[in-house]
Symmetry: C2
Subunit: 393 residues, 2 copies
């Protein structure tokens, strides 16, 4: 009676994880210094020192049963207050702590939100390619159908004609991700306004709210003078899913949140449904010590110097070799057009030289490959000559 | 399109949480010293010092990107190895680290396991009353049907005649919990052997495996010279769900595991399905820093002296006042027959006096109330005179 669906999900790892595990095995064979692993979005820069200091201080100055004890299911009030204050200050919104549900990272935030908005039979959630491949797993895990708008491989903004044609009476939400994994592209204000206008029109047509689920783990990771619009200010029915994994360099610690603004349609029912979804999946609370530590440094940033250096080295190198890539304004990814136009073949070819880059296929954009530059600069420098050979041979 | 099921789960809190939140509000009104909160299973004894020391040492001696980075989805090898070695040493089993899937606590472990074994339409999972009420939420969240064997309120072992009649071709597993929440009772070896014999007979009859899911967060919390049989040694198709919440006093940190012994039917498929279930619910990995810290002290115990004192004070006091309670061999609960025979009424009556005890109704045993004695001894001493009045008036 074992679940065939669960078995398949557990035995066929995500292609990213697969490549990462391959890299670990390969490192044992040829030496770690000879494997150039650009597979995972695992920050390479340390967490800010004040985060570790906060952990040590919490342990030394507080009752153990408080720092290691259950928090409320929606998170400790210290963190919810700190997050709310921070967003209010930074983006001029008027949130309050009760609009935040602290989660075990963005993945949990997304799973809870997808389930909460998919109450109708045949509910559909639409992603815009290129998209993080686990979205499909999470949407289908929540019992909804997953639809994809094919990528605009010139601008990597949104193909609105196709989106328009995909929205129907079953559409519960659109998941967007800017700065984008895998493209590194930031959606412009113009794009987001056009998206809002389209959704308002469709809401009227179909008579129910269509939520934007704004997945924002890379919100703080932008390069140059780029404006990242805060989506709830442009579209009222927005639910923000956030993670500190990338912004504080602690992806293993699993702390994020769902923000359901009071302006969103049926916001109280929606918030309760998010919490209920978390409950049925066994999310009792997010890890307590880390919740309390992050509350003390929600606005901290790790040192991004390495990402800036790596990004520039790769951009300059790859374009000088003849590669083309999407506008690399944010996150820590370059999305590069595969020489020959086949991301799978190029990823495989690179793998033969121990350069691990993920084919765009699993992101819904098979002509590209993703290079995660959250690695050591040594890895970037070591790989550049191989990238040169790969486009020449 | 908001999910009505999720909304209900999120707006109707568990009765335990409800009472706990009430206690917090009431403490603000009448003073914390006048509220005697026996509602929650939140350990009152600090985590062992070596656990906090391990956290501080990990932070100071290791690369930040390692301690705060993603672990493998099934957990870091250090913890899986430590757990496997510990069980092999303590129980004489022959496990290996690849049979363990580290989870965000027992709740996640249960949700993953319930989903993994419930692949068949109309799958059923049977609990034995009294049972932890969230089992129902987790089983139904996994898409299975929840069945209950009514309690044997004399011995609080298993009502085998009723269990026998409930098992059918849809039965995927039986969830057991010993030492038991809420009764504090430990299942005897005789009970577990009888259960195994019954399930083997039923497996043959229906032609498929029927798993025991052994939920063991209280395994280390026993009083006196009591033998806790290790269920996988008695029944081959056992899946163990464990949590360090109670044994290391860190319920907020969310670290536990699923142990799928290689002896279990289709163990490799089952293990993969557990991992797949975790993946679809957004459990990327369990919190990394705590995984690594626990790896250094899997066999540590918090100081249980307070529980021993509280248990004895309550047992002696309550029985001298005329209360009757289940054999209190483990966990940190007393399950007490409500004077008058109505757990709801008695819980409500106690609440009026600011003594917070949970009605047995939500555990499937409405004649009883649960007293969690993981509280300060001062709370116990303060409440005893009120318990005396409550049975007299």
């Amino acid at each position: 009676m074992i679940s065939e669906k669960d078995y398949k999900l557990g035995s066929a790892r995500s292609s990213i994880r697969e490549l990462f595990e391959y890299g670990k095995r390969q490192a044992e064979i040829v030496g770690a210094e000879n494997v150039f692993d650009f597979s995972l979005g695992n920050p390479s820069t340390p967490a800010p020192k004040e985060l570790d200091d906060a952990i040590v201080e919490l342990l030394s100055k507080n009752d153990s049963t408080k720092v290691h004890g259950y928090t409320s299911a929606n998170g400790c009030i210290e963190l919810r207050t700190a997050v709310s204050d921070s967003l209010n200050r930074r983006f001029g919104v008027k949130s309050n702590p009760n609009e935040f549900y602290i989660t075990c990272g963005a993945a949990a935030a997304l799973c809870c939100t997808f389930s909460a908005i998919s109450g109708k039979a045949n509910a559909e959630i639409i992603a815009i390619a290129p998209y993080f491949p686990e979205y499909k797993v999470f949407v289908e895990g929540a019992g909804a159908n997953f639809k994809v708008v094919s990528p605009d491989t010139l601008s990597f903004q949104i193909n609105f004609d196709e989106l328009d044609s995909l929205i129907n009476e079953n559409t519960a939400g659109i998941i967007i991700n800017s700065p984008n994994n895998p493209s590194g592209v930031v959606y412009s204000e113009q794009t987001l306004i056009a998206l809002s206008d389209l959704l308002r029109k469709k809401q009227e047509q179909f008579g129910h709210a269509i939520y934007i689920i704004s997945d924002e783990p890379y919100r703080e990771l932008v390069y140059g003078d780029i404006n990242i619009p805060f989506v709830p200010k442009l579209y009222e029915n927005t639910v923000v899913c956030y993670s500190y994994s990338k912004s504080l360099s602690l992806p293993g610690e699993r702390i994020g949140y769902v923000y359901v603004p009071s302006e969103a349609a049926e916001s109280e029912r929606l918030y309760a449904a998010v919490a209920g979804a978390g409950r049925k999946m066994g999310y009792v609370c997010a890890p307590s010590l880390l919740q309390m530590a992050i509350a003390k440094c929600v606005d901290s940033k790790p040192n991004l110097d390495d990402y800036i250096i790596n990004r520039q080295l790769l951009l300059d190198g790859l374009t000088s070799f003849g590669y083309e890539c999407a506008a690399p304004d944010g996150a820590f990814y370059l999305f590069v057009k595969a020489p020959g136009g086949d991301g799978n073949a190029f990823s495989e070819k690179a793998k033969q030289r121990n350069v691990l880059i993920v084919s765009g296929e699993s992101f819904g954009c098979k002509e590209f490959v993703r290079i995660s530059y959250c690695v050591s600069t040594k890895t970037v420098k070591g790989a550049l000559p191989i990238f040169k050979e790969l486009i020449e041979c």
